[in-house]
């Protein structure tokens, strides 16, 4: 355990593209909730990020957020703030942190943590209403988070 943690820290510190995905439990947040290192070690694909954001079975971000650039998808919600110009307000690391676990940035927010697998009350087996069997998968994979970060980083007004 010690060894693997050390290996992880070393590879993160080196910013190595060879590193595998960082496990949800090993994500390092800054004091303000940002995550500096890419979760997958790979660059994100903005086009795929847009798809994740509008797909109900994956990110479904527009369920709660309006995004003008995604206006071809119907029914954007307004529980969360509009994401237009979000890249002017947040850095890539901050966006990654908010996606991974928004409560590290906004205490008590209703936004789910998309890269977190423990600490839940009565975790279920997806949307079956039954108890989870075994370990949970994060709501989005490391690469999916990176893809969404890449798309969000294109949302600039200025």
């Amino acid at each position: 355990m010690k060894l693997s943690t050390l290996t992880l820290v070393v590879s993160v510190a080196a910013g190595s593209a060879m590193a595998g995905p960082i496990a949800p439990a090993d994500v390092v947040f800054t004091e303000y909730g940002a995550v500096e290192a890419s979760l997958s070690g790979q660059p994100g694909d903005a086009a795929n990020g847009a798809k994740i954001m509008t797909t109900k079975s994956t990110g479904n971000c527009i369920a709660c957020h309006e995004v003008s650039a995604l206006s071809e998808a119907p029914f954007h919600g307004n529980v969360g703030p509009s994401l237009d110009g979000v890249a002017d307000r947040w850095s890539e690391a901050e966006l990654r942190g908010i996606l991974s676990n928004a409560k590290k940035t906004y205490e008590g927010t209703v936004m789910p943590a998309y890269y977190k697998v423990d600490g839940f009350t009565r975790p279920g087996n997806a949307y079956t209403g039954k108890a989870a069997e075994g370990a949970l998968d994060p709501l989005l994979s490391a690469q999916q988070i990176e893809d969404v970060v890449a798309f969000l980083s294109t949302l600039k007004d200025e």
């Binding site: 954007h76 839940f120 009565r122």
Partner: protein
């Protein structure tokens, strides 16, 4: 009949045309042109500092859905009350009794009942839902089999009993012996569950009036239950709806009829004290 339908339409026509998307509308609900529903009311005292006004989920629905509830001939939930009336009068069980054997005319004996449930049951020493009372009547009173919790037959009987109180304000007691159960229900209301980590309050207190995708979030009031949901084309009970909500947080749900849901039902009902009983209401 024609006249009543016209009254209903007229009642809806007063709505302001340019409404903010996020707000409850200003329509008024008068059922059959005669039962004036209280669909907005000052919040009960126990919600002081939390909510100023309580609002029926009827206001969050489209005009097309709203108008269905304004006339019993257009309300698909009403058909189930007729089925339940057959059950009410049918002899069932080893004691040769029907509901009517003890309770007579449902329109008289059940008036006001729905408005005060769940309520403390002195002899059983716990908070009872209408469903628990109905099943006690079936098993102990009639010598019949209990009905499935939150099942279709139960939902229909709840609808029949609710109809007798339509228009009357919800008024469940939360003090005295019911207080501990109410406190537990409150705790459950604010407990965030599942991998989405959401409580009842996350959507229905912090975000009512907002949209999740196309869904216009209500305050989650229970005064309209059982509800005829257009998406399911059948009646849904309070516990059935609780289960669906908890499931949608990616959590392991509680079961209909569980102690947890009984406590939660009491608490949520108390948040609607002052709103008219609407059941069976129509929602999407």
């Amino acid at each position: 009949m024609k006249f009543k339908a016209m009254t209903a339409i007229a009642a809806l026509a007063v709505s302001a045309p340019a409404l903010l998307l996020a707000d409850a509308d200003d329509d008024t609900l008068i059922v059959n042109g005669e039962i004036e529903m209280i669909t907005k009311a000052p919040a009960p005292e126990h919600l002081s500092g939390v909510l100023d006004e309580i609002v029926s989920g009827w206001h969050m629905r489209s005009d097309e859905t709203q108008v269905m509830q304004a006339d019993d001939f257009d309300n698909p939930g009403m058909i189930y009350t007729e089925q339940a009336l057959d059950d009410w009068n049918a002899v069932n069980g080893t004691k040769g009794k029907s509901c009517a054997s003890c309770h007579g005319d449902v329109e008289e004996s059940m008036k006001g009942v729905r408005a005060v449930y769940p309520k403390w049951n002195d002899s059983k020493e716990k908070v009872y839902t209408m469903e628990m009372q109905i099943n006690d009547c079936l098993t102990d009173g009639m010598g019949a089999d209990a009905w499935k919790k939150s099942g279709a037959q139960m939902a229909a009987m709840e609808a029949l009993i609710s109809v007798q109180s339509r228009g009357m304000p919800m008024n469940v007691a939360i003090d005295g012996p019911a207080e501990a159960t109410w406190e537990w229900g409150k705790e459950l209301y604010y407990t965030r569950t599942g991998q989405l980590d959401l409580s009842c309050a996350s959507c229905h207190e912090e975000n009512y009036g907002n949209h999740i995708r196309s869904d216009h979030l209500s305050q989650g009031q229970t005064n309209g239950f059982p509800v005829y949901r257009l998406k399911n084309a059948k009646l849904t009970t309070v516990h059935g709806r609780f289960k669906g909500c908890v499931r949608d947080t990616r959590a392991e749900t509680y079961s209909p009829g569980s102690d947890e849901f009984v406590a939660l039902e009491l608490y949520v009902a108390s948040r609607g004290n002052g709103l008219s009983v609407e059941g069976p209401s129509v929602r999407n």
